[in-house]
Symmetry: C2
Subunit: 139 residues, 2 copies
């Protein structure tokens, strides 16, 4: 968390209340959140405008502090990029719940191979599993 704020300073972002609370919210949630969710969250809704959250997320993504994800919903999701924390998810197609997967990620090898064979730079991947959770499939 302090490390994240330090990274923001290092890339030239000003330390504003909105920035701190946005990072704090993402950090505590430990799961991807949408712009709308974030802007409406307890810590941010009375603090700043949705446009501000949008522009903050944009800057943070630009500097690699957060990452923008697809995740199948109409809205984009944002997640904090924490070194050493890997981000694969299990998503219920019924209720939309998102669970982080702890298991060691099996695609690093393939990623290396792609890097070598294609010459792509700044490679990273996104891996999501979709399915019906026990609760939803029980209905």
């Amino acid at each position: 968390m302090t490390a994240t704020i330090a990274r923001c300073r290092d890339v030239g972002l000003r330390r504003t209340k909105a920035l701190e609370e946005l990072l704090g919210t993402l950090h505590d949630a430990a799961r991807p959140m949408t712009l709308t969710e974030l802007a409406a969250s307890e810590r941010l809704s009375n603090l700043c405008d949705k446009a501000t959250v949008f522009r903050l997320l944009q800057r943070l993504a630009q500097h690699g502090v957060v990452r923008r994800l697809g995740l199948h919903e109409r809205a984009a999701y944002f997640t904090l990029l924490v070194p050493d924390r890997h981000n694969d998810y299990l998503i219920c197609t019924g209720c939309g719940s998102i669970t982080a997967i702890n298991a060691p990620c099996p695609v690093h090898e393939l990623e290396e191979q792609i890097r070598r064979q294609t010459g792509y730079r700044n490679l990273y991947h996104e891996l999501e599993f979709f399915g019906l959770c026990p609760t939803c499939s029980g209905v």
Copy 2:
């Protein structure tokens, strides 16, 4: 292709010109396409309305004939589900080009494990690699 049309018939979809051309377009493209791309494509633009394409894609996705993907853009992507054809992609964050990856997918094992451990049903995954292609990183 004929098999795909047969599947549509089997799930009760009526064989309309729009359906045939939509499937044909997706089949020939062999890559995910957006609703807007599809509706504006040569084979469909003069044949039917965008709303029709939208509703067709919706029904097809419901019946598992196509799959809706995120892929990071604002627009949703749709791809034909062909048995035995696997769908992992390499996407350039610069120009947006999408390449299908042929390599054997390394996550089946993890998928099995998740199925066993979580009780999720109808599990499938989405795997994408993002990076700058040689052309874009050369600029």
